[in-house]
Symmetry: C2
Subunit: 414 residues, 2 copies
């Protein structure tokens, strides 16, 4: 089974929008073992879309067309598919009613143009879109299948994951229930991670189900993504859960969370479970840690504030740092203790360091010190050396400190 991706939109060719959809779909196809050898982007031009379909179908069995399902005259995916099959568009009254109902719920008038979204090539099927007005399309012709999905990323993702991929698997004779879990790790390299789970990868070679993939997320770490197929969702989930248990056994606390969790969301929930509040004192990171934490829903239960002491005078005058070297374990401990006291929190974390462009007090660029002030007067600190340029050192320092706190909290009894 070979499935290609065709993105539609003149704005893609003009560079007004970067096409992230094709990469997302490519990643999902690879996970379920369907080959994809070509991604293409074409403008809003019916003749060119139809020509691309003919050309691509010379070499593939299935095609996912992304975009061009909107309500305007520029949205030509429906028309192009009808032309490719050689049929007319037929208005589906039930779709028209659903679209009208969606506008009503949102208390907005429906432009008549929107009814174009209820048009379906004769003989094709509409794919329901529970979160947008544009239904998708599924059309078989000459032993090939084309799926049309919306260009809006979250609508597209839901439709592809829940409707298109299972249908593709069914067509390829595979079990068609698919479930995935992303185990998010931080603190090791891709090769070390691959070595740790190599016995699991080997154990799965014969069945090819579940599959294990490594996805690099840059400075945010590495994701181990498990994808399981089954005849039913329950069967797929049982396989997934069993594999997740095996992987977590070897990966241990390298895994900080799953799916939508982030390092900061895990820190916030670990603190909330204990009823503890958090404050931060940041020098080199300049507020980055605080701004990551406040993006967590429910952060206000836990997070009280931060003192960004970028200048040495602020460290001395506001945070009472007495240590002569402001990039040192002594200084960063003083920062954490002062933040805990000034912000009146149960826990405070602090960071100071040298991001460049030049060294500071004889400390090399990349030198960073972290501290945690914990309940009961416990204060801990560590000094390290981070790679990269200013921006990278700052990002790396923020994540490193969040991870230190996460590990420390997880190791404490509740």
């Amino acid at each position: 089974m070979r499935c290609e991706v065709l993105a539609i939109g003149t704005e893609l060719l003009l560079g007004q929008i970067v096409d992230t959809n094709s990469a997302w779909i490519g990643e999902r196809l690879a996970e379920i073992g369907i080959d994809s050898y070509e991604h293409r982007a074409i403008g809003d031009n019916q003749a060119r879309i139809v020509a691309a379909m003919h050309e691509m179908f010379q070499r593939c069995d299935a095609l996912i067309i992304c975009g061009g399902l909107g309500p305007t005259q520029d949205d030509l995916t429906r028309d192009a598919i009808a032309e490719w099959i050689g049929v007319k568009l037929v208005r589906h009254d039930d779709l028209a009613e659903q679209i009208a109902a969606m506008f009503k719920v949102r208390l907005r008038d429906m432009p008549q143009n929107n009814l174009r979204q209820a048009d379906v090539p004769q003989g094709a099927e509409a794919i329901p879109n529970p979160i947008g007005t544009a239904p998708g399309l599924r059309c078989e012709h000459g032993g090939k299948v084309v799926y049309a999905v919306p260009g809006v990323p979250y609508e597209m993702q839901k439709m592809v994951a829940e409707q298109v991929l299972p249908d593709l698997l069914r067509r390829s004779g595979e079990r068609s229930a698919i479930v995935s879990r992303s185990l998010k790790t931080w603190g090791t390299s891709e090769s070390a991670l691959a070595e740790m789970v190599s016995h699991r990868v080997d154990a799965l070679v014969d069945t090819g189900n579940p599959t294990i993939a490594f996805l690099a997320r840059g400075i945010e770490g590495l994701v181990v993504r498990v994808t399981a197929k089954g005849s039913t969702i329950e069967e797929a989930e049982a396989l997934l859960t069993a594999e997740e248990t095996e992987l977590r056994k070897v990966l241990g606390n390298l895994v900080f969370g799953a799916d939508d969790e982030t390092l900061e969301s895990v820190v916030v929930s670990e603190l909330a479970r204990r009823g503890w509040t958090l404050g931060t004192a940041e020098s080199v990171t300049g507020g980055l840690i605080a701004s990551r934490i406040v993006n967590v829903a429910g952060a206000s239960e836990v997070f009280k504030g931060s003192i960004v002491s970028y200048a040495t005078e602020v460290k001395r005058d506001l945070l009472d740092v007495l240590s002569p070297l402001v990039v040192s374990c002594e200084a960063v401990e003083e920062m954490a203790i002062a933040a805990k006291r000034l912000l009146q929190t149960d826990v405070a974390i602090a960071v100071t360091g040298v991001a460049g462009p030049s060294e500071q007090d004889g400390q090399a660029i990349g030198t960073v010190c972290f501290a945690m002030a914990l309940p009961g007067g416990v204060v801990e600190s560590v000094q390290t050396r981070l790679p990269g340029d200013r921006e990278r050192i700052r990002q790396f320092a923020s994540i490193s400190l969040l991870n230190l706190l996460r590990l420390r909290l997880e190791a404490m009894p509740l």
Copy 2:
């Protein structure tokens, strides 16, 4: 003249990397009036790359191939182009020396594989790459031209802007010196901006030189990009400067900077010119403003720190906010005054607001108050209502306050 873009790399198809290069090239081609109707991505497979070249050249005059110029056996762009022309690869000794010299400068051993990057299809030209080891290629065959450029974005951008686009213009019979300037604006809509400069767009219709394009940069504002062509760089620059002057006349202080400038870099340089220091007090933005400012090179001359007072107690106890409503002009003025005093700065800015998920003290989600405490005891504040979700309100508030300060500083005599 029609020029298409072909991106090479299995990692693109697998979704491990999102292809941003094609959009960037598409934007540049549109600016200089060269049509581009198709972008394609193909994996690291020589037969499929050659087949794509044949197919695409049926409809276009020029092709930019991006990626696949690295040193490994997977990097097949050179081989594919040689096969397409029907010639062999020839090692260029001068290129081999340049590559070896680049490794020497960086004090690294050169793997023998890297010499593959000195291979050029017979009869083709290498395009110098002053900032990386992979030279580009320029190959003419059968009245068509193919350019191969590296996949590393900043190497690609430099090579396309400085070598490929001028060559394309020369081939199309156009004047081949091109220069561009991005005027960055904040605070108005695309339609309002288009109306303001419509007389300039009309005035340029006949010559088509310079051209004016509007580029949306999301929450960071809108860019008015001017691109001028000439027989010489000097001629192009004269046209560009004249047009920039006209545009700045009508756009006035909507333009906050040009090219690489950001709102925060302009704020930092306006403060530095006056020898003033800056502090911030942030509630709803949670440190976002501080972290934007510290990313500016030279920020340490100006920026002293921030007090992130997320919790009401921190506003009361640390910032001495007495106002009963913590989202109000009174409260935010108190925050700015306290930050100026505690951080001992010449200027302090402050923000408080309601980012949701629920209202606060009867204030609706999106309500945000800004204050500036300036030298001489001047304190000013403003209340507004911002659209969007939590994350968007926070981003919008950060940029809005930086822009308020920028406008206030620009209006002051030096």
